[in-house]
Amino acid sequence: MKKLLPLLVIFVIISIIAIIFVSMAKDTQPITVVKNNIQMKALPIKVNFTNDSYCKMLITTKRNSLQVVAPDGKTWFFDDPGCMILWLEDKSFKEDAKIWVYTIDTDKWIDAKTAWYGVKDKTAMQYGFGAREHKIEDTIDFSEMQLRMLRGENLANPKIRKKLLGT
């Protein structure tokens, strides 16, 4: 027994290390943030493998998703313009960040600050602001959308929803 004990200990240690290494090797975590995007370009987004940084949900569709690029090249992803506004509000790089949004009318990445937003669209978090490249009736610009989001005047408020949608 006395002789067996060290062997046993070594055996257990080896199996523990083996388990940890095997698990670490096949570790696949969804993307939440990408670094070194110095050019501040819109990155290709991996649908169903990227988490929204505000609501923590998986981004299931490219349409209406966003990317926020900080001046140091860090990039965060969002599934709804509303989430992005709420997340960005207390960040220090709020003014300097480059924001990309994938439009629902032309299907491409454009600068979110130039996009036009519908007020009663179906979006991932039900805030209702769908991003468009071209202005159509009843759309608002970025700063108006930002203001409405921060004031809580969006479809998530039941009274506003009744006013806009009638239900």
Binding site: P158, K159, R161, K162, K163, T167
Partner: protein
């Protein structure tokens, strides 16, 4: 040292010096009594309310204008029934009726006795009630407080309500509600819903508010959202909000008391510090003798510390016991008015005893910890007495 001998000596010493400890025990017990009574009352009321909240409807919907509830249209009831997942939609009619001359008021609650469920509930509440007799003619059930008050004002069997139209409505008192429900029903008058409407001045199409249940708690947030989108002037409140406001109410009462109590407590601590410094300095000679007899500093510390602990526990038990009797046996005369008020109807209720970990530990911490903290330094000071003090 032998444990038996230690205790023998300790208790002997305690009783020999009892006059020194007695005053401390009495004052401590008094402070503890006050503190425990307040905490007992508030935790008892909280417990009772939580129990009753369990059977309360999950949601209340009412029309709100300018922050004040106004009569709610009955059509809203049908709209609610149509929502999937909503069950047990019930209209409520209630309001206060002022006995103007003497500035007292009652709460009138209308119950729809035509419903099967209400019959059962009534039957359960008041055994051997002849429901037919109750529904025949205008009759009401009154809380104990109401009954006592009406008796004293010459309304032995009935009461004449003055409706907003200016007509008199004579309602017979059928029975008194059981006294166990005094906490919630002391000022209540329960009557058929149509009668209540007439007395409170509601029209046929109006109710005070509408309640409903949502059996699945996971749907509550979604349901609040959905229901409040029905009308712009609709306010929906759920049971958790009610629970929270009760919690806040009693935290507020108890908390303010505790903050004021801190003043008493710090004075008490200072007095203890002073007193024990004095008492112990007169004991230096005794301790010096013990040290000369071979006690180590640790032994003396242990001795003095145990002595303090005995006093702490004795006064803790005494204080809590008297508070228990005062609150749960005698019904906390005077002090309960801090919690329930005393301007309206006299409420004679028995509090449901609640002794839980939280209350007892709170009492112990707020009392014993400052006590021991105050005594620690005097205890140490006397324990390190040099043996040579015995010669002086």
């Amino acid at each position: 040292m032998n444990a038996n001998a230690f205790w023998h000596f300790l208790t002997l010493q305690l009783f020999k010096e009892r006059s020194k400890h007695l005053s401390v025990i009495v004052i401590s017990a008094m402070i503890l009594f006050l503190l425990s009574s307040v905490l007992f009352i508030s935790s008892s009321i909280r417990f009772s309310l939580e129990e009753t909240l369990k059977v309360q409807p999950d949601f209340v919907v009412s029309r709100v204008q300018g922050g004040i509830s106004v009569p709610t249209p009955m059509i809203w009831e049908d709209e609610l029934i149509d929502i999937y997942g909503v069950s047990n939609v019930i209209q409520r009619v209630y309001g206060r009726y002022f006995f103007k001359a003497k500035e007292r008021s009652f709460l009138i609650v209308g119950v729809d006795f035509l419903e099967e469920q209400s019959h059962e509930n009534l039957q359960k509440l008041i055994a051997k009630t002849d429901i037919k007799a109750f529904l025949n003619g205008s009759k009401m059930l009154v809380g104990e407080g109401v009954k006592t008050y009406l008796d004293a004002h010459f309304y032995k069997d009935d009461y004449n309500f003055l409706t907003p139209e200016g007509t008199f409505e004579k309602v017979n008192i059928f029975k008194t509600l059981p006294f166990q429900s005094n906490l919630i029903a002391n000022d209540m008058m329960v009557m058929p819903i149509d009668l209540a409407r007439k007395i409170l001045g509601y029209s046929e199409e109006e109710v005070s508010d509408i309640t409903f249940n949502v059996p699945n708690p996971d749907e509550w947030d979604m349901m609040t959202d959905k229901v409040s989108a029905l009308h712009y002037d609709l306010q929906v409140v759920n049971k958790k909000d009610v629970q929270k406001s009760y919690e806040n109410l009693y935290n507020y009462k108890g908390g303010l008391f505790l903050i004021l109590f801190l003043v008493v407590l710090s004075t008490f601590t200072l007095i203890l510090y002073q007193r024990y410094s004095m008492v112990y300095s007169s004991e230096r000679r005794n301790i010096g003798l013990l040290r000369a007899l071979g006690w180590s500093i640790n032994d003396v510390l242990k001795f003095k510390f145990t002595e303090t602990l005995v006093i702490v526990f004795a006064s803790y038990i005494l204080g809590v016991f008297f508070a228990y009797v005062y609150v749960f046996v005698l019904g906390a005369p005077l002090l309960k008015e801090v919690f329930l008020g005393g301007q309206n109807l006299q409420n004679t209720l028995t509090f449901v005893p609640v002794l839980d970990f939280s209350v007892l530990t709170s009492i112990f911490l707020i009392y014993a910890l400052p006590f021991i903290a105050a005594v620690l330094i005097p205890v140490w000071r006397v324990s390190v007495t040099e043996p040579k003090e015995a010669m002086l």
